[in-house]
């Protein structure tokens, strides 16, 4: 049985890109359907950003309690229950997906559950249990997201080799874990398991962990992670794993040596691929797929007029906040609003919620140099900041990079406590195109960690006061 329904806009996928697109389109008066086969909220709310932050909060609290002596407090018999920790994480996730359901309802977006497939430029078929719905609309936005990538020789099986989803809901803590890949996801899981005394090893193919971050950040993070007990092996490849009865033996190959090491579990965190399969793209020759992502222009138009794609499915950086902004730009362009500008890729902050946290925006120092900028670099350490010392968090620094010609803030890189909450200051500065002068004259409250952001800017121009 097929039911027919007509809309102005159909959105395939209810993750951060999809649901935000749906809400914005509804605000603009469009009649919107959002098709989702699972819970709304996507990976972010269900299996990504949010539940991992809940897990990491538990890790942070546990870490703090274990280091509580320096605050003049003693605690003994400190216990944790991994089941309760995971339950809390799932509850948090549930609370938020309920919130998204409410928002869609409030904005009168039709949420249609089922698997959607685009069958013509204006038609999308939603397969439900024993029926289907034929939706038609002038425009269709694909927001099907992405999933973790497997390696040729190592694939997640949910039992021994985990992807992020498996790693978020362990039945019990393993004694040891091999994390393959040291991007944000790998590093966050490493932090979590390490905090609960699991023996963690990170293997990274490139010459440093967190390879998209500034080199100094990578070096500093590596030092602290190692100090906290994480084993880090860079310039190395996990050639193969051998799943045995009681353990997994991994063959780790570096340029000049081979290590064979045994682990209880493996976490695959080697990247992301777009969900481009089984959504009907084969019906459109004009829609190009490149490295498992849909190719789009700066306003998210695919090669097929009337069909757009946003969020993780169009490529890196795979970040919810990027997806949400793409959603708004795409929808406003569809609705023909004035003054809709393409997303500034250099204005997207990135955050890693390890201990310590890492946050950055714009170019790294070497990227800036390679692009030919004449730069000024400022740096200010946590250990010279009064608030950081009072908090007992003296590890970390704030680094800023300016174009010495124009005074444009071209990059900012931070590592240390709560820096993920601080980076937005630089996001605003970048977005309104502040120069160093504007930042010099901005008053940062004392005593706060944010003062380091000011001092780092001052330092770039040899004006720092507190160092």
């Amino acid at each position: 049985m097929t039911v027919k329904k007509t809309y102005d806009l159909i959105i395939l996928g209810g993750g951060p890109a999809g649901y935000v697109a749906a809400i914005r389109a509804a605000q603009l008066g469009l009649k919107v359907a959002c098709v989702e086969k699972d819970n709304v909220g996507g990976i972010c709310l269900n299996w990504g950003c949010i539940p991992t932050k809940a897990l990491l909060k538990s890790a942070e609290v546990f870490h703090l309690i274990n280091n509580v002596e320096k605050f003049g407090i003693s605690a003994d018999n400190i216990q944790f229950d991994i089941k309760k920790i995971i339950k809390r994480s799932r509850d948090v996730s549930k609370k938020l997906t309920n919130g998204v359901n409410y928002l869609l309802k409030k904005n009168k977006v039709d949420l249609i559950k089922g698997h959607g497939k685009i069958i013509s430029p204006n038609n999308l078929l939603v397969f439900q249990n024993d029926s289907s719905i034929n939706l038609s609309a002038e425009n269709i936005i694909i927001a099907t997201g992405a999933r973790s990538r497997d390696l040729d020789k190592i694939k997640s099986d949910g039992v021994n080799v985990w992807n992020y989803k498996n790693a978020m809901i362990p039945e019990k803590l393993p004694s040891s874990i091999l994390v393959i890949g040291s991007g944000a996801i790998g590093v966050e899981f490493a932090t979590f398991y390490n905090a609960f005394n699991v023996d963690v090893t990170i293997v990274e193919l490139q010459n440093r962990i967190l390879p998209v971050e500034d080199e100094e950040i990578s070096d500093f993070a590596e030092k602290i992670f190692k100090k906290s007990g994480i084993d880090i092996i860079c310039n190395s490849n996990v050639e193969s794993i051998n799943i045995q009865k009681t353990c997994i033996s991994a063959d780790i190959i570096s340029k000049d040596k081979q290590i064979i090491k045994e682990f209880e579990k493996v976490i695959l965190a080697v990247g992301i691929q777009g969900n481009v399969e089984d959504i009907g793209l084969e019906n459109f020759n004009n829609i190009k797929i490149n490295k498992n992502h849909i190719e789009v222009d700066e306003y998210y138009r695919t090669g097929q007029s009337g069909i757009y794609a946003i969020g993780d499915v169009v490529g890196p950086p795979w970040l919810a906040h990027k997806a949400m902004h793409e959603a708004i730009i795409c929808v406003e362009k569809i609705a023909n609003l004035k003054n809709v500008n393409p997303l500034n890729l250099l204005g997207i902050p990135g955050c890693t919620y390890s201990i310590p946290q890492i946050a950055s925006i714009g170019l790294t120092e070497s990227e800036a140099k390679n692009q030919g900028f004449d730069i000024k670099v400022g740096k200010f350490p946590f250990k010279a900041n009064g608030k950081a010392i009072a908090l007992g968090d003296e590890e970390g620094f704030v680094k800023t990079i300016f174009d010495s010609l124009t005074g444009e803030l071209i990059g900012a890189h931070m590592i240390g406590t709560d820096v993920t909450e601080l980076i937005q200051g630089y996001s605003i500065a970048k977005n309104i195109e502040a120069t160093e002068e504007d930042l010099f004259h901005t008053i940062f409250p004392h005593p706060t960690l944010s003062e380091m952001m000011h001092e780092s800017v001052l330092d770039a121009f040899d004006k720092t006061l507190h160092i």
Binding site: N339, N341, L405, T406, G407, E408, I432, E433, A434, T435, E437, D438
Partner: protein
Amino acid sequence: MPISIKMPALSPTMEEGSLSKWLVKEGDKILAGDVIAEVETDKATMEVEAVEDGIFSKILVSEGSQSVPVNKVIALMLEEGEDEKSIDKFDISNSEEQNISKKTIEEQKSKSEESIENKNSKLEKTSSINNNIDKVLPAKVVKIDQGLKKVIASPLARRMASQANLDLNIITGSGPKGRIVKNDILAYIDKSDNSNQVKNISEDFINNSDDYTEIPNSNMRKIIAQRLTQSKQEVPHFYLTVDCIIDDLLSLRKELNNRSKDGKFKLSINDFVISAVAQSLSKVPETNSSWSEKSIIQYKNIDISIAVALKDGLITPVIRNANHKGLAEISNEMKDLIIKANNNKLKPEEYKGGTFSISNLGMYGIKEFSAVINPPQGAILAVGKGEQRAVVIGGALSVANVMTCTLSCDHRVVDGAVGSKFLTQFKEFMEDPVSMML
């Protein structure tokens, strides 16, 4: 006792000013420092601040009033707690209305938006003037309108523009609320790099600086450059040319001038051209229009800008409602405007907001030429020299006084047929000038 607010002297030579806008309403509570009104002089628009706290009680000079003498009481304010009745008792005899003409705000607004002229060049002096007059002002002047639209730009865009020596006024912003952002500056530089042969030429010269004198660009020159470049880049020009036989016009001119024994008027050929253009525009109003993205704006008034050459540039004073004015009136007004223009004394309303332009190079001996449209106007008429030429009339060769006129049209507004209709009408009036007096 009520406090009287007087028309401030915004410059040492200022005798009168226009009250362009009240920014407060009767009954508003105001604090010292609040901006209460905008006053326009021939030099600039300035904001007027209240110097005392109180209740803004009564407006005596309404918005849009022009030629308000300095020190005339323009409004009354009550001190805190003072009774409103005291207003009635207050002697405002010194503020009798004196020939204050009214203009709608809309009119003023639209005209200031269209302003192109050289207000900027005059502004250079105003900061020092301000310092001198601050102490004696009954109301304080706080801000000077730059003469062009207020520029909104990001700090980075401002710095990049100043480094590249760009005037932000000429750059269109793509940011929120039209803010000029980094990309706009980059795009502008990119565009001008691609098309900037002039720059290359000047770079060639820089190698041997003995060969030239560098003349810094005045603000007027910059505005001419900006506006006319914009016009040639954005406005799709096309040109229509007619020859007008003006023998009848010349003899009518002679006859009329002979009647002016007391020297009350002396008509020039250009005065006839202005009148003929004005009458033709009223017959073909499509030519009296501007392009905008949303719609074509067809003007109800016929306000004709006439290009007047100055020592360091040109300015276009406006004969307003020229279709309702006789030749003598046009002629005298034109003479007055030219004198003012040469003495840099044109008031903004005298050179802003024309709806159609005339450029006449006849007096320089130019036979014919094409003029650049003065945006946002939709057309400009280029007038050549009236001279004796051989013409064929009714199959026979004869000699006649002929003047070649070329209409430049913005094709977005004026199509070929419309332009032709206008020119045909214009030619008719020029060749039979008595008919335009009908």
